[in-house]
């Protein structure tokens, strides 16, 4: 599974093209370095990582490392019913931060999907529409998300809306671009086949273009989810009240260093889970792809 995960999560979704059929067995066979990692070895990896963290910070107290929160310290704080700095698995505040961040992600991600997918389909489908709209899109795209911060604060009065807006913008560009690529990567013969079988343009859009672009759309949605978290954290650090980015930020200001680590770990976990969810939905919708590679039934 690692191979598939690695590809699916890569930030390069836009450049991958999905072929309609898997490569013939003769070419796919015998990848020189292919094998899935074995679980016990990965445990060795985790153990080494955690041990290094513990030793460097808490035992040897290496220069510079000594100031970082240590493994034991973080673990104790995280699982404490009465945490020293107010945030642990047993405090309501912890979940409130997670919930606020999640709400913002859901709002921004769904808005980006609902707008980006249709726009991307249209961009890929109509050459005329693309030639008018895409240059505008490409002019705006290189501007980094955080450079939008002041503008979004000016445009939207509340901090809440502007945080969601920033997250939305990031996801929107990724989703739209990948959807467009998805449409463009459909084999032209497939569209021609549908035409000569008597399908109308509307039927082609519904039966050919939309499902044909689906693999790219979902690659895009996974990247989009990653980018959403990226921008959300940045936005929350600048102008949030609550949220995991805000938690990390204030923990630093109040010198509550273990809380920083708790925030980071939580972000990693929640971010990973949300990407996995997108992947799961994608797999559901694209049973044909799983069955091609012999995973599904």
């Amino acid at each position: 599974m690692t191979e598939i995960d690695a590809k699916a999560l890569g930030a390069d979704g836009a450049v991958r093209t999905a072929s309609a059929f898997p490569p013939t067995p003769t070419t796919v066979a015998r990848r020189p370095f292919r094998a899935s990692p074995k679980l016990p070895l990965s445990l060795v990896g985790f153990a080494a990582f955690l041990l290094a963290w513990h030793l460097a910070v808490e035992v040897w107290r290496l220069p510079r490392f000594a100031k970082l929160p240590g493994l034991v310290e973080v673990f104790v704080e995280w699982t404490s019913t009465d945490p020293m700095y107010g945030v642990s698995l047993f405090t309501a505040e912890y979940y409130q931060h997670i919930l606020v961040s999640l709400k913002r992600i859901v709002a921004a991600f769904s808005a980006a999907t609902l707008l980006g997918v249709p726009l991307g389909l249209l961009l890929g489908w109509s050459q005329r529409f693309r030639e008018y709209v895409f240059p505008v899109f490409e002019t705006l795209r290189p501007v980094p998300i955080l450079a939008w911060v002041p503008i979004s604060i000016i445009l939207f009065s509340g901090a809440e809306t502007s945080v969601v807006f920033l997250t939305f913008i990031a996801a929107f560009f990724v989703t739209t671009l990948n959807t467009m690529t998805g449409v463009q990567s459909i084999d032209p013969s497939v569209v021609r086949a549908a035409r000569c079988l008597g399908a109308s343009p509307r039927q082609i859009f519904r039966h050919i273009v939309a499902p044909g672009a689906l693999p790219h759309i979902f690659t895009g949605l996974q990247v989009s989810m990653g980018v959403s978290w990226f921008s959300l954290v940045a936005a929350e650090m600048v102008s949030g009240e609550f949220g995991l980015g805000y938690l990390i930020n204030t923990a630093y200001a109040k010198i509550q260093y273990p809380t920083i680590a708790i925030g980071m770990i939580t972000l990693g976990a929640v971010g990973y889970a949300s990407s996995a969810l997108v992947r799961l939905v994608g797999a559901r919708l694209m049973a044909w792809r799983l069955r091609e590679i012999g995973v599904g039934r």
Binding site: T2, E3, L9, G10, A11, D12, V15, T27, A29, R30, P32, F33, R34, P37, K38, L41, S42, V44, G45, F46, R64, L68, R128, E131, Y132, V133, F134, V136, E138, P142, V143, P144, L146, A147, W148, V149, P150, I154, L155, L177, M180, T181, Q184, F230, V233, A234, M237, V238, G245, N249, Y252, A253, I260, A261, G263, M264, L267, G268, G271, Y272
Partner: protein
């Protein structure tokens, strides 16, 4: 036919250029109208009404580009981007290749890598500031993180998708393991490295700007300079036209960097476009 920005060959009509100009001009005109509507009619346009007009932005740009401060900011950001990006490149390419060629190492280290990867780079800001002695080092580190994971993953998947026949053909021709690595695996992965780099340098700009704004806007760190800070300072100072000048500058800088990486990549992989 021309390769689009996404690598898929896309037909371009003879009107493409004209349509692009028309669309961009229409946007500029609408923006101008929206921004000045309040002055002319007393009724503000929603959203755009709060922004400076394109004419004001153009004038601000004319003013700003002759100020040395603007160029110092640009240079600072550029140095940070290049620092983070180059260190990431130097670290990620060997790591990706190691993951690909050494199965045991991959089994041990890749899961740890995968657990750390979903943590957004900016969540590292506080930890980086605590750890690194200077703010400059911290910002470079964050920039490094942004590029590092992307390059590693792409190099790994690029190396894993090498056609096995290349490796077998080389072995059949008597190549040693080292030769296979140097003359087969490395060049066959080169196109992935190029693609990854052009994505990663874009990410570096994202991260640098974010880090500069965060360090200027929160309790963390102090005025860091750079284009991100330029935008934030313009916001605090109320000169909204400068904000947009800053955004455009960063957009252009990021675009140029990606283009330069792609160009360098094309020179390093001459066989790709030799047709």
């Amino acid at each position: 036919m021309a390769a689009g920005p996404t690598g898929v060959a896309v037909a371009r009509s003879p009107y493409a250029l004209r349509r692009a100009v028309v669309a961009l001009a229409a946007c500029a005109v609408l923006w101008q109208l929206g921004a000045r509507l309040d002055d002319w009619t007393g009724v503000g346009a929603p959203g755009v009404g709060a922004l400076p007009s394109p004419v004001e932005v153009a004038m601000a740009a004319g003013r700003v580009v002759v100020e040395p401060g603007y160029w110092i900011s640009s240079a600072l950001s550029f140095v940070r981007v290049m620092g983070g990006f180059l260190i990431a490149l130097a670290a990620a390419v060997p790591l990706g290749l190691l993951f690909a060629t050494n199965r045991t190492f991959r089994a041990i280290a890749f899961p740890v890598f995968e657990v750390i990867r979903p943590i957004p780079p900016l969540a590292w800001v506080p930890a980086a500031i605590i750890f690194w002695p200077t703010q400059e080092a911290a910002i470079t580190f964050i920039t490094f993180l942004g590029a590092f994971f992307t390059i590693t993953i792409n190099v790994l998947s690029g190396a894993l998708s090498i056609d096995p026949r290349f490796v077998e053909a080389a072995r059949s021709l008597g190549a040693s393991r080292m030769t296979v690595f140097r003359r087969i695996v490395l060049p066959a992965t080169a196109p992935s490295i190029v693609v990854a780099s052009s994505i990663a340098i874009g990410l570096s700009w994202e991260v640098v700007v974010a880090a500069e704004i965060i360090s200027g806007s929160s309790a963390m760190g102090s005025n860091s300079g750079g284009l991100g800070h330029f935008i934030w300072a313009s916001y605090l100072g109320g000169s909204y036209d400068d904000i947009i000048v800053g955004m455009i500058s960063i957009g252009i800088a990021g675009y140029l960097c990606s283009a330069a990486v792609r160009k360098a990549g094309a020179l390093l992989t001459p066989w790709i476009n030799a047709r």
